[in-house]
Each structure stands twice: as C-alpha cells, then as structure tokens.
C-alpha cells in the first residue's frame, strides 16, 4: 500500500508538468562509483533560494530560470553537492551527488569486494566493507585487518590480551580512530580500544593512510581509521549474530534499526561476550589469553528536520573485565610474590550530538559537534597496579560553503578539555637482592586545547583536487600548536589516479596506557623526563591504476610510499638498562618509511583475488646509541586473499594467507644469536552458507597452528627483573575453529 502511495506521489509531478519545466534526475554516487537515483534531494537554480525536491525516483522538474544559461544545483544530507550549467530548457538535467563526509548515505550492498582501494577519496583509502567484515570471525575490529597489509595486528604483551595495530610501521597510537568522523577511543581507551567495537555493529571501516583533514584535530599522524556503524535509517529492524569458538569464546551481537516516525530514526546495538576458558597451550603456566567478559551497548538517533537539518545523537557504554596471568592465580587471596595474576577492568561511556544545518542556498552548511567521554581503568599486573580515570569533553563548530564551481571552503573552531587522573604503583625486586622496592608515580594531567581551523579545496573538471588545511591550537601545557596539511588528487585519466599528502600531527602520550605491555615485566619503570608532546610530519604519495583484466574491467594496481618523521617522540626503552624501562623524549632521528603494492582482480565472475605486499623500514635513535631498527616491528607483510562464491552467493569460500616478516628482537631477548624473529605464515579459511535471512559460517584462524614459542621470558620467576611478557612478535593462540550465524530481518 505504502509503495503504491509512494508511486502515485512520485508520478503526480510528472502529470502536472507544463512544457516549460526543466526536468532531470539526481543520482547518488557510492564510493565504488555505482550510481543510483537519489530520492528527495533538494534542487534549485544558483542564486535563487526557491528549491524543489526530487521524487522517490530522483526525478524532478523545476520552473525555468530568468535567463539562460543557468546553473542548476542539487544537494542532499550526507552527500556532497553538484552543479551543472544548463544551456536551455530542452536539456534533461543530470546531477551527481557523491557520498559526502557526513556519511549517512545509502550503501553498496549485495556482493562486494571485501576490501578495496577507494577511487573517490582524496587520501589513499582502503575500505573494508560489510562483506570484508564478514570474511573473518571479526569478533572485534582488530580481526578485520587480517586481510590488509597496511595494518599489522599483534598483542602488546602475553598476559593482558590487549591487541595493538601498526600502521605505516608505527604503533597504532599514532593512527587516529574515528567513529563516523568523530575522534574516538583516544586517551586511556587506546590500549584496548580495538576490542571495544564489535565488528557486527559496523557497516564499513575506512583506513586512510597518511595525513588527513585538519577537521578532526591534530592527533592523526600515520592515518585515520574511520568506523561506520549500522545506520539508524537502515530498514533492517533486526540483525543478530551469534559466535562460538573452540576456546569457548561465546559472543552475541544484536543491532536494530527502527523508524519511529517519518523523520525520526533510532538504532540499538548490543554486544555481550565471554571468554571463559583458561587456555595454556604453550605450557608456561600462564594463560595464553585472559579470561574476559564484556558487555557493550549503544543507542543512536537520527532526526531529519523538514528544513534539511540532520540531528544525530547517541550514547554508548561498555564494561569489560579481563583476568589473566598464572593458571593457578587466585584473585581472592592477597596479592603476594607467591602467585602472579593480572586483572584489568575498563568502563567506558561516550555521548555525542551532531547537528548539520543547511543554510538558504543549500551549498552552505553549519555543523555543531559535541561529545563527552568517560573512561575508567583499574588494573594490576602482579604487584604493579595502574588506575586511571579520564573525562574528555569536546565541542566543534563548522561552517562549510562553496564559491563557484571550483572552490570549497570550511572554517571551524573547537575546544577540547581532557582530565586524566592516573597513578602507577610500581613494585619491583632489584637483582641486587635489596628486596621489595615500591614507588608511586603520579600521572595526573589536565589539558585544555582551543583552536581555529580552515580548509580550502580547489577542484577542477572532476579531475583535479587540491586541499590545503591549517589549524592553530592553543594548548594549556604546550602553548601554540600549528598544524599545516595538504593533499592532492589528480585523475591523470579516469583509470590512473595520483595522490599525494603531507602534513604535521601532534599527540600527547599517556605513557603507561600507550605501552601497557611494560607493566607485564619485572622491571622498574622510570620516567626520566616529563614527556613533551609528540610531534611528527608524514608525507607520502600513491598511484592507482585501474585496468581491464580477464573477466574484470576494474582490476587495480596501487603503489604507495609514506614516510613519518618525528620531531619529538616519547621513547619507551627496554634495551638501555636490563633492570629498568626508561621513558624519555627523543634526542635524535626517528622515522618510518613504508612501501606498499596492492593488486586486485576478479578473474571470473564471483571469484576475486587480492594480493598485497608491504615493506617497512622504521628506525629510532635510542639514548646513547645511534638510530637502529625499532624492535618488534615487522619488516614486511604479504597477504593473499581468495574469495569464491557460488551463484547467488549461496556458498562463499574465503581463504587468506599471510606471510609476516621478521622483527628485530630486543637485545635482551636474543637467544642463540638469533637477532630476528622468524618469518612465519598464517592461514585463515571461512565457509559461509546463505539461507533466506540467515547466514551460517564456519571458519578457522591460524589453520596450521603457528604460535610463538615461549612468549614470556623467565615465566617461572615473575618477580625477577628479567621477567618480561612484552616481547611478542607472533600469534599466542593456537588454531581457532569457530562457527557463527547472522540473522537479518528485512522490513
């Protein structure tokens, strides 16, 4: 009935057309370049405010302008805008709106490539689609990167289960995590942030390498990882996912999108998981992963006002508990040197409001973004204990407009307030035999940062884009921070795309949480000097070539190079002194060069091949020593992914092979002269069967059971200064067989 009504409504304007009306259609263009009619966008003549709204098929008719030729403009929430010069009324106008920065757009569905290099973005961007998120178990976003060579995922230590990523050869702390283009999982949430977002909640992940926009602040140094959630306006009233694996991990995810009225939408996301089993496959007496429980809830809202204003707000909350350490650890007993255990409790709350308000001529927008984050961490690693509480509040206002066809600009102002109350109770037993030593390190910090920023985009003929951005922030601890950034994209031909970017980024280190693995050692932690804000420049370029090959008219080959160079970096040094971890500011060079090549082709219908290789050269000058290769940083990673689906995707087979390069072992971990960790392969397979509304999948991670042997140094004596569980270069968990199901209810 609704459909018939809609149809009727959509044809009414067609019937009432007079001969002079200018007719046309508005297309929405997805990041993959797929175009579909875009319903209900706003269309008007440049210079006149009177707008008409396109119908549900994207078609519109508008009274002619006063003079010919005239410029017709179209825009829609979540999309960019478009303008075309129309010579006279006999022309059928076609306008194309590209999915824009606010991204509440219609998405590509059906069978997608799991991971592709986006053609449309200014920066070199890898998009991990919903299909890519379903290739692996993807309990959390850490696992969704197994198909990507850009990102390496590893453990920070052998006891906390904290996963860390590396992007451009540097720790994940230098990549900015964004939740729908809003900074997220920063501060104290950083070490466990990857496990705080359930994969089934997401629609896609975009990994933009290199320096990005100044809009999200100065904190991105190596890139941005943007998480797009399932949208409130998606007509899927219910999505359910259940997962179980051989180690007893049990996980349930639910997502529900509901339309409450014509203009009000909401989504409810829930996750609960438990890792109940104490697993010790390497028989060192320590659990390979902690016993974990997590509960995670989010509620998101979208209100579309009649004047085009889009109001988005939401809240999410999380509680997680991890208990690790020795198998026989009894948490109810007082903590002493007889047993070694770890306990980590995280509580996280985030609330946000975003409002985008179009102004009269529809190419001008004002946006307000406000958010608040609370994070609390309580932890102990043996006798060491670290507790921290963070409050962060953020407010930004943005003004966006364009002048003529070629010039877009954005101006904004923002203020951020960070309050950290954190303290480390460090306990160690010196080798000299002087007995238990104890020290309390106060790491409280308050920061207020206020800034102004602007970004200018010059575009020419849909082929050339140049973006220049600048921000000036006043930081309560470090005074003025000036962040210049620039990106360039040139479509030499439609199939050959050149990109380049350069710019500066800053970041305040949270020395303990950024390096949570140092707590899982027997060493004394020494902060030699007050950490200064980290300051780095990143520049790089990439060339993407799309060409026909076999069955595929869009095979791609992408080459890129990026370099990050630190002006200041907070160094965590375990090699200078065998009894201590030293933390100090960089005094010398520190850089990382990354080269990567990606190739993808679909040689037959429903069969895709993706191959990628990355090489990294990362060096840092440690105190009293010349620059040398950073420890535990993989030199290369190669990934081959094959996917085949039978007709109508009834069965889908996924196979991923990785070859992980050697890493330099820290001097104290060198045994039998082996200064490098071995090169090792990892294999992943997954089989998915599609039924009506239901997908059932079965898979295996680490198919050939490769694990790092003896990941903990001196595991038998955890209170010895030589005890160290932070020397991790390989997998800790054995072959993981898993099964799950996904249920989708369509409206």
């Amino acid at each position: 009935m609704k459909i018939i009504l809609l149809l009727l409504i959509s044809f009414i304007p067609a019937c009432t057309l007079s001969a002079q009306m200018v007719r046309g259609i508005v297309w929405g263009v997805s990041p993959k370049g797929e175009k579909t009619p875009l319903a209900y966008s706003s269309v008007h003549w440049h210079g006149t405010p009177a707008a008409v709204v396109a119908d549900s098929n994207g078609r519109f008719s508008i009274p002619p302008p006063a003079t010919w030729p005239a410029t017709l403009m179209a825009s829609f929430v979540g999309y960019g805008s478009d303008m075309r010069e129309i010579p006279n009324e006999s022309v059928f106008a076609e306008l194309f709106l590209h999915e824009g920065a606010t991204l509440d757009e219609i998405r590509i569905t059906g069978r997608q490539a799991g991971l592709y290099n986006s053609r449309l973005t200014q920066l070199k961007t890898e998009v991990i689609t919903a299909a890519g998120l379903q290739k692996m178990a993807c309990c959390n976003i850490g696992e969704s990167f197994e198909n990507s060579a850009s990102i390496s995922v590893g453990y920070s230590d052998a006891v906390s289960g904290a996963r860390q990523i590396r992007l451009l050869g540097l720790s994940g702390i230098y990549a900015q995590m964004l939740e729908e283009n809003r900074p997220d999982m920063r501060g104290l949430a950083t070490p466990f942030g990857l496990s705080f977002t359930p994969g089934p909640w997401l629609e896609s992940i975009q990994v933009a390498k290199g320096i990005g926009s100044v809009l999200q602040g100065y904190e991105n140094i190596t890139g941005q990882i943007n998480l797009e959630y399932r949208k409130p306006a998606t007509p899927e009233p219910l999505f359910l996912n259940l997962y179980l694996d051989r180690f007893g991990r049990t996980e349930a995810n639910a997502a529900s999108s509901l339309q409450l009225s014509e203009r009000l939408f909401t989504s409810l996301l829930a996750h609960a998981s438990i890792d109940p089993m104490k697993v010790d496959n390497n028989h060192d007496g320590f659990m390979d992963e902690p016993v974990k429980q997590q509960i995670n809830l989010a509620n998101r809202w979208l209100y579309m006002a009649p004047n085009g204003t889009a109001l988005r707000f939401g809240i999410k909350g999380l509680y997680e508990k991890r208990d690790g350490g020795a198998l026989d650890f009894d948490a109810s007993r007082p903590r002493d040197t007889v047993q070694y255990g770890t306990g980590i409790e995280n509580t996280h709350i985030n609330a946000y409001v975003k409002a985008g308000i179009p102004i009269a001529d529809t190419v001008t927008n004002i946006a307000f973004i406000a958010d608040y984050t609370f994070h609390d961490i309580k932890s102990f690693f043996g006798l060491k204990a670290f507790d921290g509480t963070e409050h962060t509040a953020n407010f930004n206002v943005l003004f966006q407009s364009k002048s003529g066809r070629h010039h877009d600009y954005m101006l904004g102002a923002g203020i951020r307030w960070d309050s950290y109350r954190q303290g480390l109770r460090d306990v160690w037993f010196p080798a000299s035999g002087t007995g238990r030593q104890e020290q309390y390190i106060d790491l409280d910090r308050d920061e207020t940062v206020g800034g102004l920023f602007g970004e200018y985009t010059f575009s020419h003929a849909d082929r050339f884009w140049f973006v220049a951005g600048l921000r000036a922030d006043y930081h309560s601890l470090y005074q003025w921070l000036i962040t210049p950034r620039a990106t360039l994209k040139y479509n030499i031909t439609g199939d050959l795309i050149l990109r380049a970017s350069a710019g500066r980024g800053f970041r305040t280190a949270n020395v303990v949480t950024d390096n949570i693995g140092i707590l899982a050692t027997g060493r004394q932690i020494v902060i030699d000097e007050l950490p200064v804000i980290e300051d780095a420049w990143t520049y790089g370029s990439s060339v993407a070539w799309y060409f026909p090959l076999f069955h595929d008219d869009r095979a791609s080959l992408v080459l890129d190079f990026f370099r990050t160079q630190f002006t200041n970096q907070v160094i965590v040094d375990q090699e200078d002194d065998l009894a201590r971890v030293h933390i100090y500011n960089l005094n010398g060079p520190s850089f990382s060069n990354t080269y990567q090549i990606d190739f993808s082709v679909m040689p037959a219908e429903r069969f895709s091949i993706m191959a990628t290789f990355r090489y990294t050269d990362a060096q840092t000058a440690y105190r009293n020593r010349p620059a040398r290769e950073r420890p535990l940083n993989d030199r290369f990673k190669a990934v081959l992914n094959l996917q085949y689906a039978t007709r109508m995707n009834i069965w889908t087979f996924d196979f991923t092979a990785q070859l992980n390069g050697q890493t330099r072992l820290p001097d104290f971990a060198v045994t039998n002269g082996a200064r490098y960790s071995p090169v090792y392969p990892l294999f992943f397979v997954q089989l998915t069967r599609k039924f009506r509304s239901l997908d059932v999948y079965l898979g295996c991670e680490n198919l050939f059971n490769y694990t790092q042997r003896d990941p903990i140094l001196l595991a038998a004596t955890p209170y010895n200064t030589g005890f160290n569980s932070s020397v991790i270069w390989g997998p800790l968990m054995e072959r993981r067989i898993y099964a799950g199901l996904r249920f989708t209810l369509f409206k």
């Binding site: 018939i4 044809f11 175009k35 098929n57 994207g58 094959l642 009506r692 509304s693 369509f746």
Partner: protein
C-alpha cells in the same frame, strides 16, 4: 604448506567449474527479466535475500540502475508467474520485460 595452498586453489576452481557445467547440462532452464519499481540499495538487498531461496531459482542478478531483476530458473519447478508473485510479495510492482530491446523499462510501471 605449498601442497595445502594448491589443494585449496584446485578445489575452488573445481567447484567453480562444476557449477558452470551443471548449469549448461540443464536443458529445462529459462531466463526472465522483470522490471521492478525499486529505488534504493536496500530493495536490492531485500530481493537478493529472498529470491535465491524461491523454488527453482538458479541464478539472479539485480540491477538497481536499470530497475531490473534477471532470473534464471528451472521450468519444471517454477514459472514466470510464480516468480513474479514472489517479487510482488516483497511489496514491488513487477512487469515482465519484453525481449524487444527497445522496450522502455521506466514507462512500464507508469500508472
């Protein structure tokens, strides 16, 4: 290790090959293209979710741009009419597209 990779690759290609052979040997297979009044990606998703599990459907392609649904089906198990009904049940207006290439799909659904 190499052996396993070869094995996985071979089995992938074999499955692909076999699927192809299967389709060619079936003689009682027909094709039909419907014009469907869908206008969003979710409509496409909805059709791709439901139609593969209709009795007798062998293959399916949905083009949102052309507003067309192409189906390959077993004539001994289903008919064009019942496929059309299955699409209509999802809430769409459906018309069979004539074989004549000049047929205008956009006009077909006009009331």
């Amino acid at each position: 290790m190499k052996k396993t990779i070869t094995w996985v690759l071979c089995s992938l290609f074999l499955t692909a090959g076999m699927a192809g052979v299967q389709a060619q040997t079936k003689k009682n297979v027909a094709e039909v293209t419907f014009t469907v009044n869908m206008n969003c990606h979710n409509c496409k998703k909805k059709i791709e979710n439901a139609l593969p599990h209709e009795k007798g459907v062998v293959d399916l392609k949905v083009s949102l741009e052309k507003k067309e649904v192409w189906l390959k089906f077993r004539t001994d198990k289903t008919t064009k009419a019942s496929l059309q009904k299955a699409l209509e049940k999802l809430g769409y207006t459906v018309t069979e597209k004539a074989d004549d290439a000049t047929a205008k799909p956009a006009e077909a659904t006009k009331p």
